[in-house]
């Protein structure tokens, strides 16, 4: 709980820094060249680490492995999403009326850039059209998360 509060406290700062140091980002589309490269690299990370459970189409496996399509877990709060990668996920989770029970291990051995890439890929694939996840966000989340 403490960790969550910490992250929430730091989030606005990260945002402000990002805003001041970079040019203001165009909204969602057109997708930047960086985001495109990140997503392309993310496909490689996805193929090596994620595809066996979440499947090539991102649709997951009924009752076992959650889909990555049209779910708030993927499209919503980016910090929460980064933490799923860092810590894994062990709860019985309900997504769009279906329950998923398989264990997701921690993928904290992935580099920050790899996590940013794979999440950027996932958030912009399978019909998803959410914004990129940046290296800075992952680094800040990992620092707050402690691993």
């Amino acid at each position: 709980m403490k960790k969550i509060i910490l992250v929430l406290l730091f989030l606005p700062f990260g945002f402000v820094i990002a805003q001041t140091q970079q040019k203001p980002k165009p909204k969602a589309k057109p997708v930047s060249a960086e985001a495109k490269t990140s997503a392309a690299n993310g496909l490689i990370v996805f193929t090596q680490n994620c595809v066996s459970c979440h499947q090539a189409d991102g649709g997951g496996v009924p009752r076992m492995n959650p889909p990555l399509i049209k779910t708030i877990w993927v499209l919503g709060d980016q910090t929460r999403l980064v933490k799923v990668i860092l810590n894994g996920f062990k709860e019985d989770v309900e997504i769009n009326g279906e329950y998923y029970s398989n264990v997701m291990p921690a993928f904290n051995y992935l580099k920050d850039q790899e996590i940013a890439d794979v999440l950027t890929y996932v958030r912009s694939s399978f019909g998803n059209k959410a914004s990129a996840v940046t290296l800075k966000q992952v680094t800040a989340t990992r620092a707050a998360n402690g691993k």
Binding site: Q55, V61, V103, P105
Partner: protein
């Protein structure tokens, strides 16, 4: 950027190539004839009809002596966890569907005047009248309670012998008993602590109430997860279908390729005697080498044989096909070669990705004297997926789960994806 694009192109080409290779290689392609009206492909002389549809997540099923069907749902639907299907007008379709039982689960079997059902923690039984209808759906007897459920391999399947015992699968809440479940490179716990309370078959009394672990016997161990199990009447012994471990490549990428990981290890049919050990998590069965191989979590390298003494499968199937139903056919309606043989419902794979998925069919293995007649198996009912593309992508329309034999000798198959119940009959001469 160009480099990345090239890389992706290479990966895509590799996946496409492997898809063609493995589609041709590992999955026996059945007859080319068209699917019948129920959408299934069956051997000559057999036909399938749909008894009911959209029931929910239909797991195991049991048939009464007049052909009514009890269906156990994985999750409660409209407040009911067990459905009874009745065909009032005799047109082969269930037109009177009632329900009871406010819990989800998998186990469903009729034996000696009772309907047995399981949740993911408990086993219940309901007294039947002489038409094998449940007398009071609201008041089952709880015969076993408090079995472990940690949201992985949590379903409890049941079967009974002829001496008043019930056999309950308690699946391991783990893939391979690693320190960190499914984590890349994490090694196995030594000894595996899960085996004390799961990863095996437990035997309880079929007529004693409120039993828990202390009242039962760990009948067989070293079984990662069993969903399909049945008592073989010819040989008077238990047979189980194990779901083999997942993710050899994900967890040990230096030891297993993606292609090896898609076909290893075998899904195994075991003939079980009291006290048997099938070897999980210390070993897996490699159907190509025909050997019990040491698990990489316990020091294996894909070739080293296991040091643990364990039983050998009666027959081995390709990896990850997910056997969810097992039935020994004791009827007389099918041709003689089917008598006493094993039907196995394969739910279909997920852990072959990015290789093409497989399964989604019912297999037959002929038996002689209580043992498989050969090491060959045949696809009996195919195309539950709806098409080859849907099978290979894993986006199957229907997924076979439960099997039961009707009083007229027909074979019933449940589907836990769309909730369809199929009846397969023989009309040949």
């Amino acid at each position: 950027m160009k480099k990345t694009t090239t890389k992706i192109a290479v990966i895509t080409a590799a996946i496409a190539g492997a898809t063609l290779f493995f589609a041709a290689k590992t999955v026996p392609i059945k007859s080319k004839k068209a699917a019948d009206e129920a959408g299934l492909k069956l051997p000559t002389g057999f036909s399938a009809s749909i008894v009911a549809d959209n029931l929910g997540q239909a797991r195991h099923i049991a048939i009464t002596n007049s052909g009514d069907i009890y269906v156990k749902l994985a999750r409660v639907k409209n407040g009911k966890g067990i459905l009874m299907l009745h065909d009032k007008n005799g047109d082969g379709k269930a037109d009177d569907i009632t329900g009871f039982g406010d819990y989800g689960g998998t186990g469903m079997i009729i034996k000696n005047g009772y309907l047995y059902a399981s949740s993911n923690e408990n086993v219940y039984r309901y007294k039947l009248d002489n038409r094998q209808h449940v007398i009071n759906g609201t008041k089952p007897e709880e015969i076993v309670k408090g079995l472990i459920n940690r949201h992985e391999h949590e379903t409890k399947s049941v079967t009974l012998d002829n001496e008043g015992n019930i056999y309950v699968n308690i699946g391991a809440y783990s893939n391979s008993c690693q320190e960190h479940d499914r984590q890349k490179g994490s090694m196995g716990m030594q000894p595996c602590p899960i085996l004390d309370s799961a990863g095996g078959i437990w035997q309880f009394k079929a007529d004693k109430l409120n039993q828990t672990y202390g009242d039962g016997t760990r009948y067989a161990t070293g079984l990662r997860n069993v969903v399909g199990l049945d008592w073989n009447q010819q040989d008077n012994q238990l047979f189980v279908m194990q779901h083999g471990r997942d993710q050899l490549h994900d967890i040990f990428p230096d030891l297993y390729t993606v292609q090896q990981s898609a076909v290893l290890p075998a899904e195994c049919l075991y003939a079980i005697k009291k006290g048997d050990n099938a070897g999980w998590p210390y070993l897996y069965y490699d159907p190509m080498q025909k050997k019990k191989i040491m698990m990489p979590e316990y020091g294996g390298d894909g070739k080293k044989e296991a040091a643990v003494n364990a039983i050998t499968p009666a027959i081995a199937f390709p990896g990850h096909l997910a056997p969810d139903g097992l039935l020994f056919y004791t009827g007389n309606k099918f041709p003689a070669r089917y008598k006493n043989g094993a039907f196995i419902a394969f739910h279909g794979s997920w852990n072959r990705a990015p290789e093409p998925q497989a399964g989604y069919f019912v297999v037959f293995v002929p038996f002689e004297n209580g043992k498989p007649a050969t090491d060959k198996w045949e696809v009996f009912a195919d195309n539950f997926a709806g098409s080859a593309d849907k099978a290979q992508s894993g986006r199957a329309d229907h997924r076979p789960c439960g099997l039961a034999q009707g009083p007229d000798g027909s074979l019933y198959v449940s589907d836990d994806s769309k909730g369809t119940i199929y009846k397969i009959s023989y009309n040949g001469k």
